[in-house]
Amino acid sequence: MPTLATNPVVERLRRLLPTGRVLEGDAQVAAYECDALTAFRATPLAVVVPETQDEVIAIVRFCRDERLPFVARGSGTSLSGAAAPVPGGIVIAMNRVSRIIRIDSQQRVAVVEAGIVNAAISMAVAAHGLHFAPDPSSALICTLGGNIALNAGGAHCLKYGMTSNHVLGLKAVLATGEVVTFGGPSREQVGPDWTGLFVGNEGLFGIALEATVQLLPKPECFHTVLAGYRNVEQAGEAVAAIVASGLLPGAIEIMEKLALDAAVAAVHAEYPAGCEAVLIVELEGTREAVAADRARLDAVLAASQPVEVRPARDAVDRAAIWKGRKSAFSAVGRLSPDFIVQDGVVPRRRLGEALRKIGEWSREMGVRCANVFHAGDGNLHPLILYNGAVPGDLQRAEALAGRILKLCVEMGGSITGEHGVGVEKREFLPVMFNPDEMDCLRRVRAAFDPLGIANQGKMFPPAPADASAPAHSGSAPAQA
């Protein structure tokens, strides 16, 4: 078949898949050059589009035999560059490996393929009164495989935990070509938690093909409150008071002024006037429990010096509150041509201190920064604004991002709560882990991937001569 391809590796790759499912050339692969962290770009050799698990297995074994780096990618919503291609490697687009294999509503589990969209799982089981709890902000487009790779979070992690807590079993093809099944339909597990180890591997072990996920009954009732505060410290104190009261809300979120302005501009969200920060608290559960907890929450909030407290009156109100919050990341795009979404974690009691420092540095460095965060988890999401067309702007934004990440570690936290290390934060992993610990992580990676072909260049800082990582773009001088 005549094509523009002359690369013999690609020619051999084509023999594994039906016509039209190996994409190459600048035009065809352009959409795959980066994930949602657009500052990092690389051109893959080709993009392959498998439709079955067997095709994925055949592709990975081909990569192993050819020593060809590969990156599995779902919808590309990763914010850490974890799904960015490796230059000269291939991208395995998993979106079509997305069947629902089995829904067992009685035992509350579903077996689904990794390319399924997160929200599609909850939609498929909604009629049974069940849902899949992990809900990253990108739930409407991100795939389960990506959630598994990064151990994604979302607003409800405080109560329900991260993706890992909901994955009971896995079938995966490892970078060695070995196909494994870990765990199973039981919520109990026996022996080392292989499923738990695989979740959060950032694509460095191999590719999840299918997962057995646990389903939970949909909460019967929600009580969602939006409270506005004059400043973010007061909002933070309200969080501390809620936690101290013994309540366990499903979600506790804070948005700062700049993010509020963005949400107003983007989705016409409405917030109380004169507020520098809003707090969103959501109770959920049986109507009896929510009624009892609601009275306690109302009392705690009333004592927290709010400018205004707005409980959602109905489902429409609740949806409006969450729409403003969940669109905050994309909405910031209206305020700035480019931005970095950071993802550090600090102990909750140090949130106020962390935010003060971020504010000081932001002013001092002349870089605008909008804070949105999962306050219940201490998970900060500073949205650091820059203009890629202005020389030096990206570097200033990255410098601020780096200072924030180091601060998180110094405070006893983490460089990532839910987005993963990816390519963006790999140089900071050794800030969290000492050389012995890094060595341990590298050895575990090497056990799964002795050739180092699975998502090469991610999570671990490169050795000095390693050129395998995706390159900076935007206004970076390296591109010039």
């Binding site: 101290a244 009691r349 992993l429 050895r443």
Partner: protein
């Protein structure tokens, strides 16, 4: 077996590291409440972890606690209770003296894990002495963390085969204000399975849902604000026949479950990874062998007790022997190349027993 009192017993992490460095083959032992985990070949020296004890960091406002591996669970449970908090995975054998490290090594969670998840869902960090006697801090001390591979979770159920856990960090939750336990009538195994599945999927958000193999009953526990529990209990009793247990009876029941006091003295005890639909088969298995059994976590956890001298046989479900002779992994255990490779990555010299020992 060497008496526990004569075992080397490090009192600090530094002493533990030195001991590991100087011992070519070893296995850590806690309070010995799950003795099968450390019944390994004589070549492996046993190291007592009970002196490596104490809560090292507790931040109620963070919902986190860190303790040395040999800390008795009862100390942790008591410290948390003082601040109105608890370990939602509801550990077993607290009164019997089980340690935190042994509980993690066995991967044991109690009936309360139904609502928020098992031990694996609450462990956030570990300090591990690996096969090269290096002290590694894996995971962290904050409730949300995605940096690096999740080795703390991997060590749950690992039975000391990859290293010695020196210190562990957990996420904790505020303890519900009140509880009610209902005894629901379930004459046979099919009725039990039906109630377990329907009740765990219903709106009530049950805190625990267990079934006794030898009794025609399912036990459902509600937990939450006091005023919510009566109407919820009434609602459940409209669906199934049964009654609210007295606080004394309920307390006796759950203590019997968490302390495994229903099991044979001196017999074998096996933890089984079950599914709700397999409950009738599990019940039949227990009954035809003259054994005793308990079903927990809405049919996801089976506990099997055999009388003294009865050997643990191979089961059709994944299973772990906690007490008694017989295979450590008593059920089907898949073997993949990667399992050996990861064991080698963490313990190249084979300082700790292998996965088959």
């Amino acid at each position: 077996m060497t008496p526990a009192t004569s075992l080397p017993a490090p009192a600090t992490i530094d002493e533990l590291i030195a001991l590991v460095r100087g011992t070519p083959r070893l296995i850590a032992v806690g309070a010995g409440t799950k003795p099968r985990l450390s019944q390994v070949a004589d070549a492996y020296a046993r190291v007592a972890m009970t002196r490596l004890s104490g809560i090292t960091e507790y931040e109620p406002s963070e919902f986190t606690i860190t303790a040395l591996a040999g800390t008795p669970l009862r100390e942790i449970v008591a410290a948390l209770a003082e601040r109105g908090q608890y370990l939602p995975f509801d550990p077993l054998l607290v009164k019997a003296g089980a340690t935190l490290g042994g509980t993690v090594a066995a991967g044991l969670s109690g009936p309360g894990r139904l609502r928020y998840g098992a031990l694996r869902d609450f462990i956030i960090g570990v300090r591990l002495v690996d096969g090269e006697a290096r002290l590694l801090r894996l995971g962290g001390k904050v409730v949300k963390n995605a940096a690096g591979f999740d080795l703390p979770k991997f060590l749950v159920g690992s039975a000391g085969r990859f290293g010695v856990m020196a210190e562990l960090s957990f996420k904790v939750f505020p303890r519900p204000a009140a509880t009610r336990t209902l005894r629901l009538e379930a004459p046979d195994a099919a009725a039990k399975a039906e109630i377990l599945m329907a009740a765990s999927a219903a709106r009530w958000e049950l805190d625990a849902l267990d079934a006794a193999v030898g009794e025609g009953a399912v036990f459902a526990r509600l937990a939450g604000p006091e005023t919510a529990l009566e109407p919820l209990a009434r609602d459940i009793l409209q669906r199934w026949r049964g009654a609210v247990m007295t606080p004394g009876d309920a307390s006796y029941l759950w203590q019997s479950v968490t302390e495994l006091s229903w099991a044979h003295t001196g017999g074998a005890l096996v933890k089984v990874a079950l599914t709700p639909a397999a409950v009738p088969a599990f019940v039949a298995f227990v009954q035809t062998r003259g054994a005793r059994g308990w079903v927990s976590a809405a049919g996801n956890l089976g506990l099997l007790s055999l009388p003294p001298a009865a050997a643990v046989e191979t089961l059709e479900w994944p299973a772990l022997t906690l007490r008694g002779a017989g295979p450590l992994w008593a059920g089907p255990a898949p073997r993949f190349e990667i399992m050996r490779a990861v064991k080698t990555a963490l313990d190249a010299a084979g300082r700790f027993p292998g996965l088959d020992d």
